[in-house]
Structure formats: C-alpha cells, structure tokens
Symmetry: C3
Subunit: 488 residues, 3 copies
C-alpha cells in the first residue's frame, strides 16, 4: 500500500494518543478493580456496586452521546450531495475530539491539581461529548467548505482553547452554565463563524450544490428530533437532585414553546409556507437559550418565555441575518449556526446573567450555593457554619446576586471574544495549502472525498442531451466532471 498524507497523519495522531493515555491516564476508583473498596462487600466498608457512579450518569451520557453522533451527524445531512461527509466527518471529528479532550482536560487538571495522572470515569466520557458538541457546531459553520485534514487541525486547536476558556469561566469567573450555552454553544458557533469568515471564497455563493433534496431533508429531521428529545439530558446531566429535575422540566418546556413559535414565524411569509430549514434548526433554539439558566428557579412560565423568544429570533436569523452576514460580512455560515447556537447562546448568557442578579436564598434555599458556589459565605464565617450544619457546601466568595450576574455576563463576553479571535487565527492556519483547502468545484460535494455509488453520478448522466432536462439543477455538476481535474 502506498501511504498518503491524511492516513499517515491520522495514524500518527492515534499512536500519540495511545502513548499519552499510557503515560497519564488511569481508571477512576469507581472503575478500577484495584481500588481497595471494590474488593469488599458494601456491608464491610466496600463500594456498593449498585451505587456505582456509572449508574447516576450513564443514562444521561447515552442521551448526549446520541445527540453528538446521530443528532449533529444527521442534522447536517440536509445537503443533497454532502451526506456522506456530513455524517462521516462528524463521526471522525467526534472520535478525535473525545480522545483529545480527555488528554487536554486531563493535563490541565493535572497541572492545577498537581497530580501525576488523570482519571477516567463516566463523567470524563460525558464532558468529552460536550466538548465534541462545540467542535461540531463549528463544523456546521464551515460544512462543505473544508477538507478532512483542515477539520482535524481545527478540532485540534479548538479543543485546547475550549478547555482553557471553560476553565476560566468556571474557576476564575465562577459562572454557572449547566447546559453549556456559553462555553459550548457560543464558543463553538463564533469560533466556527470566525473561521468560516477567514476561509471565505466568493464562489461559495454560486455553488448550485448547496441545497437539499426531499429525502435529504428527511434524513436531517432524524438529527433534529433526536437533538430535540435529548436536550433536557444535555442541560441537566451534570446537575444534582432537584436541580437536575428542574433543568429537565425547564428545557422540555422551552423546547415545546420554541416549536410553536418557530413554526409560526416560519410560515409568516408571502406564500404562507413552512420552511424545513427552520423546522430542522430553529425548533432547537429553545434548548440553547434556556441552557445557562436551566437549573435556575425561572419558573415554568419563564422557561416557556425563553423558548418562545429563542424560536422567534432563530427563524428571523435564518430569514434575514444569515444572508446578510454572507453578503455584507463574507461570513458564510452553511448550517446557520449563528441562528441555532450563536444568538440563542447569547440570549442564554443574558438571561443567565439577569436571573442570577435576582437569585436569592429566599427563592432557592441552600440550593443557591450549589448553583452559584461563589455566592457561598467566606471560609470560617459564622454564616458558612450555619449553612453547613444542614447542607454540605464549600466556602465561597460571599458574592451578591448582582456581582454573580456581572460575572455571568463577563464569562459570556470573554467566551465570545476568545471564540472569535481563536476561530479567526485557526481560519488562517486552515487556509495553508498543506492542509488541502477545498477547490471551488469540490464545495459541498462528496464526490471528491468518497467512493460514491453509481446513482450519485447517474443523476447527472440521466439528462444529458435531452431537452426537458436542461432545467434540472444537478446538470451543472456534469460540466465540472468534464473539466480538467488534475487531483480528482
């Protein structure tokens, strides 16, 4: 076998990953047979198998897992000639990210906690999936316009920045973002949009391949609906007890109201017709918009309100803002991630900051300190001891509600800036020729990257030379195929 560039790089990467894991990774105690408690029965001081950490998270983890691989993967198959790449590269990138995130996240925590290895448990698997979501959102912005190698490089850089940004948000700003609307959605969306802006090629607008067909739109709905169904798990997976229960309810409600409003605004056009792009995407905006405050005491009506606003903004975004960004700002956003993740993410951050500014012990009980650890009283204060008599919390910074709101806002703003800057820099790196940037005629086209079945080209041949076929918009592919194509 002759060895080519991409395979070589992928194999080297995987070998390096194995080496990193061999040096630094180990099972967490709850997954480690060697851990002494696992060698004893529960009534002899051992670990109770039925209470293994796996059980409290596995269900939620699997929901998120489905969202990443089925949800994002199929959502992007709406492009009629890019389905293999959508679902295939989605899988490749995610498989890369879940390993790379464990390493970067692990190394960062080893550094800050002065430990010599990082431990893997079900929570590592879950947070790796969250990180994959950020990269796949960015993938949505550049969909159809990048080579696999560019995507791997993007994922490589993005995860490093993602881990650092999240660390700053969670540990410096002590912001609360249970559903990752800031650290995952805003980050992924604007990172991707910035990269797409730098990669902009004016020929993108002319491509007749960027569009759906009837069945590709149905394949995309598989992704949409699984995302919609499991979003409550995404937003609640890492919350405990009543917080988790509330996050499920709020997300479910926000998604329900978002559907109604998205359908409403979608059909509010001259022809009074619904648009599948809106149904596929805007119906999910409620899940993003409620993400930061999903475990807050926003009230069921608050969740419905947030979902409604998000649905409206998202559809308006698809109708007006996406074309405007492409035309005026040369930011061509293939999947419209600005409308599904970007603006609803900002909405989530704003709602989060506002609600945090009004959060009180009166309304939250001691749960306040679970959700906003920085609001807990200082170390050794009388107030802390009083609370700790009833409820296990750590010492905090004694922040006021408004201070917490300010930090929430700060975390959002920093995330936005970091994402834009890092995305743009990554875009410049991706443009470098060794990464095989996509030629114009290969935009939105599986043909260059995949062995394709005969009907992929038949669609074109079918109509050659007959009059009534000239109207078929797939014909243009044919011309491209006949053109000299040295590297295809």
């Amino acid at each position: 076998m002759k060895v080519a560039k991409l395979p070589t790089i992928l194999v080297i990467v995987q070998v390096l990953f194995i080496v990193f894991f061999a040096i630094f990774a180990d099972y967490a105690p709850s997954a480690n047979a060697k851990y002494p408690e696992n060698s004893k029965d529960a009534d002899k001081g051992g670990a109770d198998p039925s209470k293994n950490k796996l059980h409290s998270l596995y269900d939620m983890f699997q929901h998120v897992h489905v969202m990443i691989f089925i949800g994002f993967g199929f959502l992007m198959t709406f492009l009629r000639r890019y389905g293999f790449s959508s679902v295939g590269f989605n899988m490749l990138i995610a498989a890369f990210v879940i390993q790379w995130h464990m390493i970067t996240h692990g190394l960062l925590h080893m550094a800050t906690e002065h430990s010599s290895s990082f431990k893997i448990d079900i929570e590592s698997l879950l947070t790796a999936d969250f990180a994959a979501a950020a990269v796949l959102i960015s993938f949505g912005a550049v969909l159809g316009k990048t080579s696999p190698l560019q995507l791997i490089v993007m994922a490589f850089i993005e995860i490093i920045v993602f881990v650092c940004n999240e660390y700053i948000g969670l540990y410096f700003f002590k912001a609360s973002d249970v559903g990752g609307s800031m650290f995952v959605h805003i980050f992924g969306a604007y990172f991707g949009i910035a990269a797409a802006r730098i990669l902009y090629n004016s020929k993108v607008e002319d491509s007749k391949k960027e569009g759906s067909n009837y069945h590709s739109d149905l394949f995309a709905m598989i992704g949409t609906i699984f995302l919609w169904l499991y979003w409550p798990s995404f937003n609640s997976a890492l919350a405990p007890g009543d917080d988790q229960h509330r996050a499920v309810i709020n997300t479910y409600l926000a998604l329900a109201s978002c559907v109604i409003v998205a359908f409403a605004i979608s059909s509010n056009s001259k022809e009074a017709k619904f648009d599948m792009v809106h149904v596929q995407n805007a119906t999910l905006a409620g899940g993003v918009a409620v993400g930061t405050s999903a475990n807050f005491m926003i009230g069921p009506w608050g969740a419905l309100l947030i979902g409604s606003v998000a649905g409206a903004i998202s559809v308006v975004g698809y109708k007006y803002i996406t074309p405007y960004l492409a035309r005026r700002w040369k930011a061509h956003d293939t999947c419209g991630v600005n409308n599904l993740h970007g603006m609803p993410g900002i909405l989530a951050g704003l709602f989060g900051a506002i609600f945090a500014s009004f959060a009180s012990v009166d309304r939250y009980g001691n749960g306040l300190y679970e959700i906003f650890p920085a609001r807990a009283p200082m170390e050794n204060s009388t107030k802390l001891l009083e609370i700790q008599a009833n409820f296990t919390i750590s010492a905090g910074d004694d922040r006021s509600a408004v201070q917490q709101g300010g930090y929430q806002f700060l975390a959002m703003a920093v995330t936005l800036i970091v994402a834009l800057v890092a995305g743009a820099i990554t875009g410049f790196i991706m443009k470098m020729s060794p990464l095989d940037p996509v030629k114009e005629r290969h935009l939105f086209d599986d043909g260059h990257y995949w062995e394709t079945p005969s009907d992929f080209d038949e669609a074109v041949q079918f109509c050659n030379g007959t009059d009534n076929c000239e109207t078929v918009n797939l014909k243009s592919f044919d011309d491209e195929k006949n053109a000299e194509d040295p590297d295809n």
Copy 2:
C-alpha cells in the same frame, strides 16, 4: 413582515399558554429548590438527591418521548409526497399538546383537589406525552387531509375531552389501564376516525398521491421500530416494582409473537408477498392489545397469545376492513389507525375485562389492590387493617373480580362512545371554512404547506413529453400544477 392567520393564532396561543403557566403552574417539591427538604442533607431529614423522583421515571419518559416524536413522526412519513408534513406537523401538534395537556389536566386536578396551582414534575411530562399519543393517533386517521389550523383545533378540543374521559375512567369507574390502550388508543383512534368520516371527500379515493415510494417506506420503518422497541416502556412506565417488571415482559412477548403472526398473515396472499404497510403497523398491534392487562398476571403465554391474535386481526384489518370502511362507510383512515390502535385497543379492553374478572388474591397477592384499587376492602374494615399491616394500600370499594371486570368493560364502552361523538362534532367544527380545509388538489401533498426542494417538482418535469414516461404515476401532479391555483 405581513402577518398571516396561522402565525398569528400560534403566537397568541403560545402567549396564552405562558400566561396560564405564570398564573397556575409551579415546580413540584422534588424539582423546587425552595422546598425546605431540598435545603438539607439527607441525613438531616432532607431529600436524597440520588432518590429524586426524576430518576425512577426519566428513562421510561425518554423512551415514550422518542415514541411520540420519532416513532409517530416517522411512521407517518410513508406517504411519498407528505413526509415534511408528517414529521413536521407531528412535532407541531405534539409540542402544542404537551403544553395544553399540562394546563387542562392541571386545571381539572386543581378543581377536584381544591388547590390553587398545579405542580410540574417528571410525571407531568410523561403523562403529557401519553396525551400527545392520543392526538397523534387521530392525526393518523386524517393524515394528508387537514390543514395545520384544523389540526391545532382538533388537538385543542381532543385534549379537553381526553382529560375528562380519562378522569371518568380512572376515578369513577376505577378501571385499570396501565398502557392506556383504552384511554389513549381506543380514544385516539375512534376520535380520529369519526372526524375523518365527517371530513370525507370523495376525491380522496382518486388521489394518486396517497401512496409510498421505496425510500419513504424505509423512513417509516424508523418510526415503526422505535415504537416497537420502546413500547414496553409505554405500557409499564407508571407501574411500580414487580408490576412494572411484569408489564415490560408481557409487552415484549406480545410484540414478539405479533411480529411472527403479522408477517405470516401478510404473506398469505395469491402472490405470497409481504406488504410493508403490515410490517410498519400490524407488528405493533401486540403492544396495544396487551396494554390494559400488561401488569396483570396473564402469564408469559397469555402475553404471546394476545400478541398473536392482535397481529392477525390487524393485518386482516388492513387487507379488508380499511377498504370496506372507506368504500361503504366513507370513513377514509389514511394510516389505518383502526387496525393498529382501534381494534387492538378494543381487544385490549376485552382481555382486560376478562382477566380482571378472574383476578384473585391467590394469584396476585396484595398486588391485586395496587392494580385494582377499588377491589381493596372498605374504609375501617378489619380486612383492610389486616392487609395494611403488611402492605400500604388505600381503602377501596370492596369490589368483586367480576364487578371490576364489568367496570373495565364500562370504561372501554364509554371511551368508545365519547370518542366517536366528540370526534364527529370536532369533524364538523374542522370543516368550517375559516380553518382552511384542504382543497382536493392539495390532498397528501407537501407542496401547498412547505417550501420544497427542487427535486419535489423535478420528478414531474423529468418525463414531460417523452413517451415512455407516461406510465410514471407522478405525472398527474404536473397537470395540477398547471391548473389555475389561486391560493397556491
């Protein structure tokens, strides 16, 4: 933006929902941070986060959730030119119903329990999904023949009647129906069929668009199989302990035998060929037919028997009864919900009544009083106290087995009558012209309601003017497109 009728109505509805929720809805204690027990550690009398009510139901809830949105949604995509509407309107209706059901169900229980608000927890989400199932079954009967506005009106009325009928069945008749075969399946099926009868348009029979194509049949199988897989959760979600375990086993077995018999009867034709309509639908009839008695002690063989009978009846229904109903009774049932939900539901009700008539403490232990609360002894009776010494139950009506069987039958009969009458009345309301009844040429056609990709119409243009294409049955659409169409 010019504002049109449907968007306006949807937005007003959503605003009203938010107002209703703001006035009446609150988190249940297990989802409410303010609840004092949530502010204490479990060992100080607080609520144990790991035992939050969410955990016992979330898994089952998500299975049912998948059934509603993926299962029903994709099952109906079998129509070759109505896939967008099938999966899209399914989503719209379900999102409407889950909010509207919480309100109506909440108000009813506020009235009967003299409380000032209704509480939302994971069980509310689950029962809202059950209610959505009823409406989506009705949707199956009228599929392709109604406007979105008609569907919203149908859902609005149907839920009110659904909540009342279920209340009567559960609280007056004290019938047991763990899988909702009576209150969900019979109700939804005959409500929809009655409405379809009133909406009957003789041109429906001529429509060349009512049919599948090769890939639309595969999309439908996604729906079928997820329904088939998660049906044990549907039938067992609300049962406790061994009852739940038994309901899972019985449903799994009934579905397995149903598949064998449905395939058998399906291929028993002159050509000895299987029919995808049967595989898509009749294979599920076992889940419906065992629904009422899923938690009864019917024995594993009993479950297999019920499933077998249901599979046979359902296929026979598709082969003979659906055409007969359409021809003779003008009841055109697009998805054949009579065969999948109606007759198997009646079967479930009958089996339920029969098995209930033979249920004894000897066979059920004290579980008898969990399944049939009315069979528990009267308040203050010695017998009640004896039982309560071992097992927590409430006082009942001291019903005999046969009495319980009679009430089971009564609940079924009342459900059937209520559904038919309410469905017919709703059909008349849906016919009113402000609700935009569907014109003949728009039957079973996404083109009137959706922006469609180019291949939706290409399929027609493809063959214009060539001889060998005259046999293509999509051609008829072309003529319609050329006809004057003032409102398209």
Copy 3:
C-alpha cells in the same frame, strides 16, 4: 383465504411457542405478583419496588434492543434493492429468535438445574437479544441470498447450537466473555460464512443488484451509529459495579480509536477516497475486539490499542480478504461479517487469552474472582474463607492465570470449530428445495418477496428505449422482469 407454505409454518411455530411457554415458562419472583415478598412493604421484609431487578438492567437492555432491531436492521439496508428485506427479515428473525432462545435456554437450564419451569425476567430478555445478535450476524453473511423460510430454519438450528456452545464455554471452560465476542460474534460470523459457502452460487458474483445507492448508504449509517453508540452497553450489561463501569470506558475508547484508524486506512488508496462500506462497518470492529476483555484491567491505553488494531484489520479485510474469500474459496459474505465480527472476534479472543494469562490479584483485587470464577480457591480452602470474609464469591478451581488464559483460548477455538461445522451442516439443510432457495434473478431483490411501490420498477422503465439511459446499471433488472418467471 388460500393458505400458503410460509404463513402456515410461521403460525404453527408461534402456536408451538405459546404451548411451550404455557407449559414451562413463568415470571421470575421479581416480576411475579404472587411472590410473597412482593405482597409486603420493604420495611416488613418485603421486596423494595425501587430496587427491583428491572431497574439495574432495563436501561442497558433497551440499548441492546435498539442495536438488534435498529442497528442490525438498518446496517443491512445498504443494498439498494433489498432494504425492505433487510429491515423486515431482520425484525422477523429477531422476533423468532427471542422466543426460541428463551425456550432452548430455559430447557437447557431446567435440565441442568433439575427444575420444572424456567423463569423470565429482564435478564432473559437481554440474553435473548444477545442470541438474536448471533443469528443476525449470520444473516449478514447470507444477506440477499436466502428465502425467509431458509432464514427461519437457519435461526432455528443456530440457536440450539448457540445455546450449547455458550453453555460449554461458560460452564465447562469457565471462560470469561462479557461482551460475547467469542460466543456471539465469532460464532455468528463463522456459522453464517460456512452456511454461505455451502449455499454458494457462482451467479452471485454477476448480480448487478448487489450494491448501494446514495440514500441506501445513509440509511445504513443509522444502523451503524446506533450500534456504535450503544456498544458500551452491549459489552457491559451483564457486569456488576466497577467491572461494568470499566467495560463502558474500555468499549467507548476502543470504538473511538477504531474510528480514527478505520478512516485512515480506508482513504489510503490511489484515489485517497473514503469508502462508506468501511465507515459503516469497520468503525465498529473496536467494539467487538475489546468485547472479551472489556471488563479486564487492560488500561485505557490498552483499550485504545485494541480498537486501533481492530479498525486496521477490519478495513484491510474489506479491501482484500472479502474478495479473496469469494473468489478463491467461494465464500461470498454479503455484509463482510468476517471483517466486522469474525476477525475482530478472534482478535478479542486472543487478547482475552493473553490478558487473562497476566491477570493477578495484585492488579484486580478480589474483582479477579468475579471476572474469572474458576480462579477462586477450592471449596473449604483457607484462602477461600479469607477472601469470603471480605467479599462474596463462590468456590472455584484454583486456576492459575496461565491456565485461565488457556481455557479462554480453548473456548475460542471450540466456538470457531463448532460454528464452522454447524454452519456448514445448516447450509446443506438450507439448500433443500422445500425451503425455497433463491433463484438467481431474485438475488438481492425485494421484488420477489415484497409488494413494492411504483418507483421500485419505475427506475427501470424510466429509461427504456432512450439512448443515454443505457449506461444506467439498473437496466438489467428490466430484462429479468421480461424473462419468463413462472413463480413470480
């Protein structure tokens, strides 16, 4: 209704199943209302409903259930004209097997345990699904080349052999195989390949119908991804506590690395293009290859290594070994189960034997005796009592690590031989004419077994008599249709 052969046989089989269940099957105590503990509250010595066995397994069971019916079913829809059969026969066979496995497995255990009935609980449902996996793997080898009747006969025989082989492996050799890589994957693959070898028809190689189209490849990805997602559940479902947690982690990691390497090797061709066949199948090989040792202390890096090797071997298998086997050995393996299940299964067995040879108490703690019960000390030995003071285990055979490794290898070798011999014999039985072997022109074609929608044949008629359509490779079907076909 005229009664035909297949329907008659299916109905008789189902009736016999019901009779078998009526005589021998009963609910397990945890699903039986009659069981006295279920009639008492937990604090009075009764069973705690919240700790019902259902809850510890239901989640995992449903994941496996999805793998069997969605995963295998859709994975095989890649054939462009065999989608109905793939997903339909998959459902039929699995529904047959889950009943038949309960009976055979039940009878075997009744015989060995001298009991008069077999008990059904959630574990029975789960192991029945595992057994279905074996048969469906065999189905993959003969896909498109067998009649439904042949498949039922194959399933009937295969399950009997499967149950016996597994019994020998687990109870005589006391081999550990938590993910069933030996007893399910090796067994199913080589049983199917042996049967396919006997059924070999040289015309298979000429069939123009054996191939995918663009959308059938996307349908197949639904199967692939659900298999990929839920494989950690398949490999861990029957392990307890930390073993289960570790099995989830190891499988997740092996699958992730497998994706990277499979993509790498796939695109390492002259054209540098990915192949959907590899993405659909080879990405899963890591799950198989780590199956036997998923709960061993192989280390996270060990899991990554196993997955990488499996991904490489599997793609190489699709590229070189499958064509070679068909050409040289007349073993035509439609889905390439040798590459996805066969060779990775052998890899799993070898890795299992090697790792078992190095397993020590030092590395595993007392968990060693959970994973390898035969390594526990002999009955009444001091060493056993010492362990039992801390940890509940049964007496074993005091095997050494190397002995255990030897038995692991033996179990694999016996499984391979049993599968090949039994598969070949079954192939000869399947060839008998009363089982309706498939005629050449019906290979890989739904048309003979299913009512097909108009576009199934339109594809052919479309191009009749026009010049530019001669290149369309579906044309050949047309000739066959025109040929005399007495039994179609």
